[in-house]
Amino acid sequence: MDNVNVKELVKQAKKGDKEAFTQLVHLYSDRVYNLALRILKNPDDAADVLQETFLAVYEKIHTFDGRADFFTWLYRIATNFSLMRLRKKKRTVLADEDLEREFDSPDQVEISEWQQVPLKGMLSEEFQKHLDEAVDSLPDIYKSVFILRDLENLSIKETSRILGITESNVKIRLKRARMYLREKLAGYMSELVKENNS
């Protein structure tokens, strides 16, 4: 995405140029939608967040001062809408202590066995569900970091700006989220290995 072009579009949109705002929606709607979909795991909710985000951006674009990238500002709004919606849903979320406990539990599957189970490219519906549940059970502060950094491929700096936390905190949360998910996957693999051996 051409940065200069985006800056010009934002400048024009702030002046009320409807065509410029339309182009911004076209440029960023896929990314906003995917972010929301990854956080909420529901296409209808993600579609609502997409709409809410651009309506809010349209209303507030005059307050955007250009100190941060437009993209960072937009993502912060979309992340907040997604997390607000997520908190309203009844779901089982781990406490920090549970996350720590996962690290201390003995490994349920030998590392050598990871190579025996062809996980990559073999995503069954059941496995997909298992992965979704694992990501969803992460506390929001870990989940948002994991999604922004590992699924959206944003930098540590961008992630810290969007979430309003320090880069150190991004790194710590990211490592914990990754290790927790690894343990969850190991648990599922243990079941697969047992099934294969029975």
């Binding site: 409807k18 490994d107 590392i111 995503l123």
Partner: protein, 76 residues
């Protein structure tokens, strides 16, 4: 697997948010670089991230939602 690698990586993780040049952090990092068990564990963490990434392939935003945004904001 012994809990060795997990413990080391977990400790390292807690230090990574701090100053990487701290003696404890440097020591742990050096250990990880030279420990096959820690390396193997890290590879499984990387594989986990790759698998989850594959399972979350990007999708296109629904055109109907975009059209609705344009309609509400009277952009077209």
């Amino acid at each position: 697997m012994k809990p060795h690698a997990k413990k080391i990586i977990n400790e390292l993780c807690n230090y990574l948010g701090q100053d990487l040049n701290q003696p404890m952090c440097k020591e742990l990092w050096e250990h990880v670089q030279n420990c096959p068990e820690c390396q193997a564990y890290l590879n499984t963490v990387k594989l986990t991230v790759e698998i989850i990434r594959d399972a979350n392939a990007p999708q296109h935003a629904p055109e109907a939602v975009k059209e609705n945004i344009f309609k509400i904001l009277k952009l077209k």
